[in-house]
Symmetry: C2
Subunit: 305 residues, 2 copies
């Protein structure tokens, strides 16, 4: 692990530096692979270090930074959101759910470790995420402790039955049924948007954001949360499995309604571009402080995997 | 729901009053059954209100009370430990794990709602448990906020790969193999003892316990945590499914090592009685304040289901 550049030349370099910090922090946040019982730690690390793009943790750090917060203060949430994102993938890939064999170009957890360990590895990632949020150095000020608890509440809300879990339930129930544009948007605001929103809002809370910045960042989070899913649907319809690192064309095969099936490919792309514009507008008043968030909004929409 | 008696006549009456308070608090802590998406809330409530004895939440409240803490302050942890206990049962019962059709005399979650929803219901209970711990009224003092975070850290540790989840992994790996007494004790200290220990220690922390009381309660927690599992093994070997409300004789059928298979039925009963004695000794210095904890230690060992 190379030391990150403390003064990166631009948003792309800043992004790389933050990613490296996140990798190191995730590694420190978990017991070593050989810790008792070894099976579960192998399984947890297998999925957490499977080559994820770390978009969620970087969003946390970028949001905290945009309001003048420290990376040290934001890093536990950065790690927690990546653990929660990974747990949701491990459980969603299970045979009883989406039944996927491939994730980020590698066999899914249950293909490698069996279903029982995959279920427990997801449980372990979810548990460790919240445990990490509760670990606070003894010398912390009352204000920092309160901000930590507030960010944890935002995270809990986003991952619950009104967010991540609720979205997955509705997604499963929507298979083989046609749903309209409003229902589709509701589903994805819960399944994808809620956690992305918690990254931005939680990071801003930990950074000590004032009310007006919080409102700006909430608008930004809403736009990129939805954009993320629209782009996912476009990629599922247009890209190869090799490039995606997961099974392609699954949505159509499963009879799922997507932005592409509801709005057409051109309509979905237009929607993504519109949402990118909304995200950029929201953080424009932050000026240079918001440069990394603006860069991330472009990355989310222009990515090809 | 009848109002609990504020001045119960003895430990048995106090216990009933606390149980009623826990039922009401659990109900308030969850979205209503019809909330979007309805399926997941039905599944969560189905398992959480399936007739559990609420031993863990009562332990939390009893430990907080034994050191002079308030029920209001301890109730979120009381609800959280019951949610986590229930999530662990829902996931352990899955076909990929212990494959159980019956729990507390009712069909298990996956038999009623299917595997996908059962997995998500477990995830939802685990998530809500930690979310609940992070919800703190705005007017709370800094001390109360810090105690809440400290109790959450104790809970996170107990539910992680060194506790509840680690124990389940080792339990699965032990099926069909003979393990010795020390390995069996290690397994159960993780799988059952860690969460019971967190109930007592977490309740004591929320109650503002002094160091000497914390140490006493930790000894009590260790003893009843292990006693709980020893008695479970005795009951599995001796009681009918009808009385247990779950499949009986499963351990032997699965080729699992238990306290009965390792120490014999008489040896296991002797071990349970010895642990009850240790628990009672640990709380004896608390006098009347520890009466409910002493009552619970007797209940855990003398129960028949």
């Amino acid at each position: 692990m190379t030391a990150p550049n403390p003064e990166p030349a631009g948003p792309a370099a800043a992004l790389e530096g933050l990613r490296a910090e996140v990798e190191a922090a995730l590694d420190r946040a978990l017991p070593p692979e050989g810790a008792w019982p070894a099976t579960i730690h192998r399984a947890v690390r297998y999925s957490l270090f499977a080559g994820g793009k770390r978009i969620r943790p970087v969003l946390v750090l970028a949001a905290a930074g945009a309001v003048g917060g420290s990376r040290e203060e934001a890093m536990p949430l950065a790690c927690a959101v990546e653990m929660i994102h990974t747990y949701s993938l491990v459980h969603d890939d299970l045979p009883a759910m989406d039944d996927d064999d491939l994730r980020r170009g590698k066999p899914t957890s249950h293909k490698v470790f069996g279903e029982a360990v995959a279920i427990l590895a997801g449980d372990a990632l979810l548990t460790r995420a919240f445990h990490l949020m509760a670990e606070v150095p003894a010398g912390w000020s009352d204000g920092r402790v309160r901000r930590r608890l507030a960010a944890t509440a935002v995270l809990g809300e986003a991952c619950g039955t009104g967010g991540l879990i609720g979205g997955q339930v509705v997604d499963l129930e929507s298979e083989g049924r046609t749903i309209d544009g409003a229902a589709l948007e509701g589903l994805h605001r819960a399944k994808t948007g809620a956690l992305l929103g918690a990254c931005v809002r939680g990071g801003a809370i930990l950074g000590g954001a004032a009310e007006d910045d919080l409102a700006r960042l909430a608008r930004y989070a809403d736009a990129i949360g939805l954009a993320f899913q629209v782009v996912d649907d476009v990629l599922d319809a247009t890209e190869s499995a090799e490039r995606l690192g997961k099974t392609a064309g699954k949505d159509e095969a499963a009879g799922k309604s997507t932005y592409v099936s509801v709005h057409g490919l051109a309509g979905a792309r237009r929607k993504a571009a519109e949402l990118r514009g909304q995200a950029l507008d929201a953080v424009a008043p932050l000026g240079e402080r918001g440069a990394l968030l603006a860069h991330l909004a472009r990355l989310v929409v222009d990515r090809t995997s």
